[in-house]
Structures are given as structure tokens and as C-alpha cells.
């Protein structure tokens, strides 16, 4: 019998190279637990994120978009 998989969100993340990306790195190094739902893209600055990237992300099937810097 096939088991119904629980919904696991897919989140597109834009992380600033100097802030959030380094923060994510630190979280990894300090072995902090967080959900494996992010698909991250490193950008050189969160100001680099054009609003159109967000609609593009939603269009390509992500459940939400996370911008962090």
C-alpha cells in the first residue's frame, strides 16, 4: 500500500553572502538543527534580489520565498 507523504514545504531562499549565508554557515558549524526545507541561492547582497525573482520562484513551483540579509 502506498503511504501518503506529509507535505514538506519547498522554500526558495536568497541569502546575502555577507550576512545570512555566513549565518547559515555558522548554524551548520555549530550543529544547530533546522528544517531541511530551504533551497538556497547565495547572492552578493540581498539588494541584488529583483522582485521579479520572487514571482519566478513561485512560478517554478516553490511554496514560498525567503529573503535574508
Amino acid at each position: 500500500m502506498e503511504m501518503k507523504k506529509p507535505f514538506e514545504p519547498k522554500i526558495l531562499a536568497f541569502l546575502c553572502n555577507w550576512c545570512a549565508y555566513a549565518g547559515a554557515d555558522l548554524a551548520g558549524v555549530s550543529r544547530l538543527q533546522y528544517p531541511p526545507t530551504l533551497r538556497s541561492i547565495r547572492v552578493m547582497c540581498s539588494g541584488r534580489v529583483d522582485p521579479v525573482y520572487i514571482t519566478d520562484g513561485l512560478k517554478s513551483g516553490f511554496d514560498s520565498v525567503f529573503v535574508s540579509g
Binding site: C19, A20, G23, D25, L26, Y34, L58, F66
Partner: protein, 165 residues
């Protein structure tokens, strides 16, 4: 980002699909907390179906790409802080209101342009397809005509049929 969230609300997708958080390089703990929080929010919202929101998404994208919105956003600082040569400035709230009004109009125009891309339509058909009121459609259509973005194609009986240009 605030404007994008406003547009997501306007289009029925909901602003919560876009989350913005500030984390510094030293805040690994905070980052982990935010990821958990954003994950929980998305979990509650449930899966996003891009096919169901095809029209609104395309219209939001069109709006964000429109010259009017891009110029306004780019001039935010100048309008609210530096002022013009007469030293007239807009208050931050007034600017935000103006920006939202502009975004709403551009979004309605984008919806119309989007449905006209498929085939020429009458005002009534456009209103049905976009979910806008007939009056709103004719207002925006008028603006589009003045900018040469839409025009009259033919008459079907008494009803004028418009096309995108």
C-alpha cells in the same frame, strides 16, 4: 519587498508567501530560528499551486516590470528625503499610499494586458476573465488605449472588441 508583498496580497496569493528576515553573520542561532519559523508558516499555508495562480502571477510580474513602478521605486529616497528643486517632499506614509495606488492600477492594467495576449476580447469578457468590475476594466482600458498598448480591433454586433498591441 514591501510592495511585492502588497501585490501578492492584491493578487490573492497572500503576502506570507514572501518572508524577509535580517540576520547578521554572527547569528547562526537566529538564522536557525527564522528558518524554522518560515518553514512553519509555509507548512500552514500548504502547497502553492502555480497553475491555479497563473494569471495573477503573470500580472504581478508584469506590474513589477512596468516602467511606472520601477521609476517610482527607484526614486523613493529622492521623493521622501531629498525633495525636488523647490524642496518639496512627500511624507513616507503619503509616498507609500501613492505607491500602492499606482501598483493597484498597474496590476489591473497588467491583468487586462495578460488576458488580451491570448485573443482580442470585449470589455465584458475581460471583466469575467480578470474578475475586475466592468467599470474598472473600461477605466484601465482607456489608459491603455492612450498609451497605445491596447486598441479597438473590430465590432462584434454592437460590442467593441479590443486587442493588445
Amino acid at each position: 519587498m514591501e510592495l511585492t508583498q502588497y501585490l501578492l496580497d492584491l493578487s490573492g496569493i497572500g503576502r506570507n508567501r514572501l518572508q524577509v528576515r535580517w540576520v547578521s553573520a554572527a547569528e547562526g542561532q537566529l538564522f536557525a530560528e527564522y528558518v524554522t519559523e518560515v518553514s512553519d508558516i509555509t507548512q500552514k499555508l500548504g502547497p502553492f499551486d502555480p497553475d491555479k495562480f497563473e494569471l495573477p502571477l503573470a500580472a504581478v510580474e508584469r506590474t513589477l516590470n512596468s516602467a511606472r513602478i520601477r521609476w517610482l521605486l527607484g526614486l523613493t529616497k529622492q521623493i521622501t528625503e531629498q525633495g525636488n528643486v523647490y524642496n518639496e517632499k512627500l511624507k513616507k506614509e503619503d509616498f507609500k499610499k501613492m505607491l500602492h495606488r499606482a501598483a493597484e492600477e498597474e496590476y489591473q492594467k497588467a491583468l487586462i494586458m495578460q488576458v488580451l495576449e491570448e485573443r482580442p476580447l470585449s470589455v465584458k469578457e475581460m471583466a469575467e476573465k480578470t474578475g475586475l468590475a466592468v467599470y474598472t476594466v473600461s477605466l484601465r482600458l482607456n489608459e491603455l488605449e492612450r498609451c497605445n498598448q491596447a486598441g479597438l480591433k473590430q465590432y462584434s454586433g454592437n460590442a467593441p472588441i479590443f486587442m493588445g498591441m
